[in-house]
């Protein structure tokens, strides 16, 4: 029988991607006690390519929010792996830390980051509400538009 969160994902029409692999000598998640620390994830699309670009220059705010949502899906995929495949073990989302690749004049970081925050609340309800830090980055690995790391608490 699918779990509650799996049923919620199905209801939302969300197919989680396969968890990403690290690009270097680190792991995508580390669990300490009840806290699951997730590595910085990028916006990987269904075809495996990354959303690249710079907000305020060649990427619209909606595209940035969509990229942030994609990053959120990647975080959930890694989180599911960290939970042995059972997202019902997730107690809550504790914190998201988002880096938005943008021009120095860009100010709509929050709107971009909402793509990920809204996803967590859609999937986990109130347990998806998290503390959050969002900053603008001059450069990000591989030129990706958004990078997000996450902290989740297990039940």
């Amino acid at each position: 029988m699918p779990g509650t969160i799996d049923a919620k994902l199905a209801e939302l029409g969300i197919n989680l991607p396969v968890g990403a692999s690290p690009v270097a000598s680190y792991v995508m998640s580390a669990t300490v006690g009840r806290l699951v620390h997730l590595a910085g994830h990028g916006p990987r699309q269904a075809d495996g390519t990354l959303v690249k670009g710079r907000l305020g220059e060649n990427l619209a705010v909606e595209d940035g929010a969509q990229a942030a949502r994609l990053v959120g899906l990647g975080l959930l995929a890694t989180l599911r792996d960290a939970c042995g495949g059972d997202l019902d073990r997730v107690g809550r989302c504790v914190r998201l830390y988002g880096l938005i690749r943008c021009t120095p004049e860009f100010t709509a970081h929050a709107t971009v980051m909402n793509g990920a925050s809204d996803l967590m609340v859609e999937v986990f309800g109130d347990a998806g509400l998290h503390a959050r830090t969002t900053i603008g980055a001059r450069a990000l690995p591989s030129g990706i538009a958004v990078e997000i790391e996450g902290l989740f608490e297990l039940c």
């Binding site: 009840r34 914190r95 925050s117 509400l129 503390a131």
Partner: protein
């Protein structure tokens, strides 16, 4: 003694701001076990961003330091809310993250973020000593000059 930290705030002449509400679909803090994770705070007072601009360009280090102090006061306001109003429940400040909107060749990030670290130590004394990082950001939400987030340990 009840209200030890409140007394200290009074002694310092600090009136904590009302912890700003988040600007989106998130919350100002989350407690997990005995750790309180505070969302990134920008230099807001009375609903307005008081320090905007870029260090190394339009903002001097002194103003950056003042911005960091205001961010830190907002952090403490959120921690107070997390403690049900009783700051004496703070066991210690564990970690501050300092984000400084700055040009590529700016180097005084530590001096700016000291505005936050010094404030936390003024208020909490030895319990205010924390691990910290200070980084340059290409930009920050709403054009803020500085953003500070934090992890605090609290007692039940």
């Amino acid at each position: 003694m009840a209200g030890r930290i409140e007394a200290r705030l009074k002694e310092l002449g600090i009136e904590l701001p009302v912890g700003p509400a988040p600007v989106a679909n998130y919350v100002p803090y989350v407690q997990s076990g005995n750790l309180v994770f505070v969302a990134g705070q920008i230099p807001l007072a009375d609903g307005k961003v008081r320090h905007t601009g870029i260090l190394g360009d339009s903002v001097e280090v002194e103003e950056g330091r003042a911005a960091a102090r205001l961010c830190a006061l907002n952090v403490v306001a959120q921690v107070k809310a997390a403690c049900g109003g009783d700051l004496d429940r703070v066991v210690r400040c564990v970690r501050l993250g300092g984000y400084v909107s700055s040009t590529g060749d700016f180097g005084d990030h530590p001096a700016v973020v000291n505005g936050a670290s010094d404030t936390i130590v003024e208020i909490f004394g030895d319990q205010g000593h924390h691990a910290r990082f200070a980084v340059g950001a290409g930009s920050l939400p709403l054009g803020s000059a500085v953003e500070i987030d934090a992890v605090f340990e609290v007692s039940a």
